[in-house]
Symmetry: C2
């Protein structure tokens, strides 16, 4: 089954809004073995939208259209869908009532322009949107089934799970399972990983395993993809190959599959009954933000103290303005009563990063001069701090050279 | 001139990578009056890539292709470009030497697979990439000029500015200036703003002004676009209409054009000779991160202290575990010697937000129960805290009801 996606809206086409709707939707469908083959973005323009609909109708079995269902005049999806399907637009009283309810529950009057959201192509299948006022719907255009979804991310997500996936699965009738094994590494670039993993695909004599990389600085994701009749068969096929990847990439692997570096650190600390506070300068609070977001179970990550200047972080700890990262790590550990204090100072101008840990059994220091601009220094510095802590907790060397630092 | 963009790569098509390359590129071209009319994403698939090239070649004047120039086997752009242009691939020794230099400067040997990056369609115009090993190039396919750019964001950005823009400008020969006036507001949704601004476009009798919205929670962007012969003419046309927008949206406007809410707050504090530290719980450090990133001139934002639990933030300030936001604001102000202390506690589960300011002339408190899930509570809570501070510094009411809170 060929699935295409069409995104519409001047805000997406002109780049004002980053198209995260498409990435979330496509990721989810790919996971389920319903890969998207092409994505097209057009603006709030009748002729472009119509041309995109007609072209996709001639190629695809299923087309998901995202956006253009809003209440304002530049939202054109219903109108153009009706034109392309060769039918008229008509009011759906049941959806108008839904919109009125939506506002009533918020103790507000429905603004008059929201009425437009209840106008659908005649004969369209209504697709429920339980969290918003935009009405989803499906119509046939040419030989393809078109599914129309709202541009508001939370509304799209609910409709994808509850409405789109069951319909696409029923249409596809595919049995094969797509299995993906992922390794997240820090410290090596794509070229080097590709070189280190030379010959990995050939380990399966039948060519069923595909190796791929995705570089998102400072991490590299290494992926093994396989299609097999069952999940068990896919896992059995991948197991020896995954073991070989682990052996070759070694200490650079920070997590696998849905795991994260910060998650691995927190899990290890939790197992040790530990707790962690951080002090950081120059990294815009990135270290604390990563740990706070990952500590959903709570109680391991205590607090982050961050500023653009190290002196502003040092003073409330009773330390001198020129306190070293070692002193900051020890200071925040003591002030918070944490078992571990992690400090990182980043100079976004020079790329100089200085990391220090204070723990119950002593600590470490690690310095690096990162390659690239300010953004890379900040992201790389935060990553290096987390990775040094991971290595320290795992008994691995914290001073292994990485590809992103000056020799 | 019709400009299209084609993005290639399984990582973008499958949604593993969010397509920020496209949004940055399109935003930049739109600003310069070189709008992109359509964007197409295809995977690392020879047939799909070829079909996308051929279709765009039949419609567009200029096509920018992004991605597929890497050293690995799944990078297909050069090969497919050569096929579509009907020429062979050939080694460009001058670029191979560039790649070798790139590695030499980093004291490393060039991995053998990088040689592939110096293979270009015969007759292609080489487009320099001063920061990476992927070689940009341009070829004609059909009646369109195709520009090939690397998928690494920093490399794309440099090439866009130094290489693409001059070439596209020369091709377009357009004289008219596109002028955009933007207002950033917090607290009102798109429907309400559309309603408040009813009739704004008609203020220009000749229909030259276009009103648009872009909602990115918790902010709403209101845009007035106009095309005029000169920047001065555009500004003169927009001035009375912009004044009317300001009057109608009132205190909800937090910044205009490239200004930001946090930038406005820091600017005002700087003018007062003030300084600011923050204490936050439940917001994953979002308040501190926003202020740190905006305080490029430095010295106004001192420090952020953040944790998932308010108690972890209270303790190092010598406060009891159940300290109120007012006490946290006063505590962090005192500990850091700041003129202003801003505190925010967010309960991502309930949406309850509690903001407090301690300043030289007293302070304020603001409570709200935000609508939506955990992510909205965090983003909305951070925004509310910053907006209350902005309002307080501007002498505007801090307790004006917003659309995102329960009545």
């Amino acid at each position: 089954m060929r699935i295409e996606v069409i995104c519409t809206g001047d805000e997406v086409l002109t780049g004002k809004t980053v198209n995260t709707n498409f990435s979330r939707l496509s990721r989810r469908l790919t996971e389920l073995g319903l890969p998207v083959v092409r994505e097209t973005t057009v603006g709030d323009d009748r002729a472009e939208l119509r041309a995109a609909f007609d072209a996709a109708a001639g190629r695809a079995d299923a087309v998901i259209v995202n956006g253009g269902l809003g209440p304002t005049v530049d939202d054109l999806s219903q109108e153009v869908a009706a034109e392309a399907a060769g039918v008229a637009l008509g009011l759906r009283p049941e959806w108008l009532e839904n919109i009125r309810d939506f506002y009533r529950r918020r103790n507000r009057e429905m603004p008059p322009n929201n009425r437009k959201q209840a106008m659908l192509p005649e004969g369209a299948e209504l697709i429920d949107n339980p969290v918003g006022t935009a009405c989803g719907f499906a119509v046939d255009i040419g030989a393809a089934r078109f599914f129309f979804t709202p541009g508001v991310p939370s509304e799209l997500d609910v409709m994808t799970e509850q409405q789109l996936i069951p319909r696409l699965r029923a249409m596809s009738g595919i049995d094969a399972v797509m299995h993906l094994k992922r390794f997240h590494s820090f410290g090596i670039g794509e070229s080097r990983a590709d070189h280190l993993l030379d010959g990995i695909e050939a380990m399966d004599g039948q060519g069923r395993v595909k190796l791929g990389f995705q570089s998102h600085y400072p991490q590299l994701e290494t992926k093994l993809a396989v299609a097999a009749p069952t999940t068990g068969a896919a896992e059995a096929l991948l197991e020896p190959i995954a073991a070989e990847v682990r052996a070759r990439l070694g200490n650079f692997i920070v997590a696998e599959d849905d795991g994260t570096l910060e998650g691995a650190v927190l899990e290890r600390l939790r197992a040790l009954g530990g707790s962690l506070s951080t002090a950081e300068a120059g990294s815009q609070g990135g270290l604390g933000a990563r740990l706070a977001a990952a500590d959903e179970e709570g109680g391991v990550f205590l607090r982050a103290s961050s500023g653009n200047a190290a002196a502003a972080v040092a003073r409330p700890l009773g330390l001198p303005d020129d306190a070293s990262p070692v002193e900051l790590a020890e200071g925040v550990r003591r002030a918070d009563g944490a078992t571990h204090g992690l400090a990182a100072t980043v100079d976004p101008g020079t790329g100089e990063v200085h990391v220090a840990l204070a723990g119950p059994d002593g600590g470490f220091e690690r310095r690096a001069l990162l390659i690239g601009g300010a953004r890379r220094a900040r992201h790389g510095g935060v990553e290096l701090a987390l990775d040094c802590l991971r290595r320290s907790l795992a008994g691995a060397p914290v001073d292994q050279k990485i590809d992103f630092e000056k020799a």
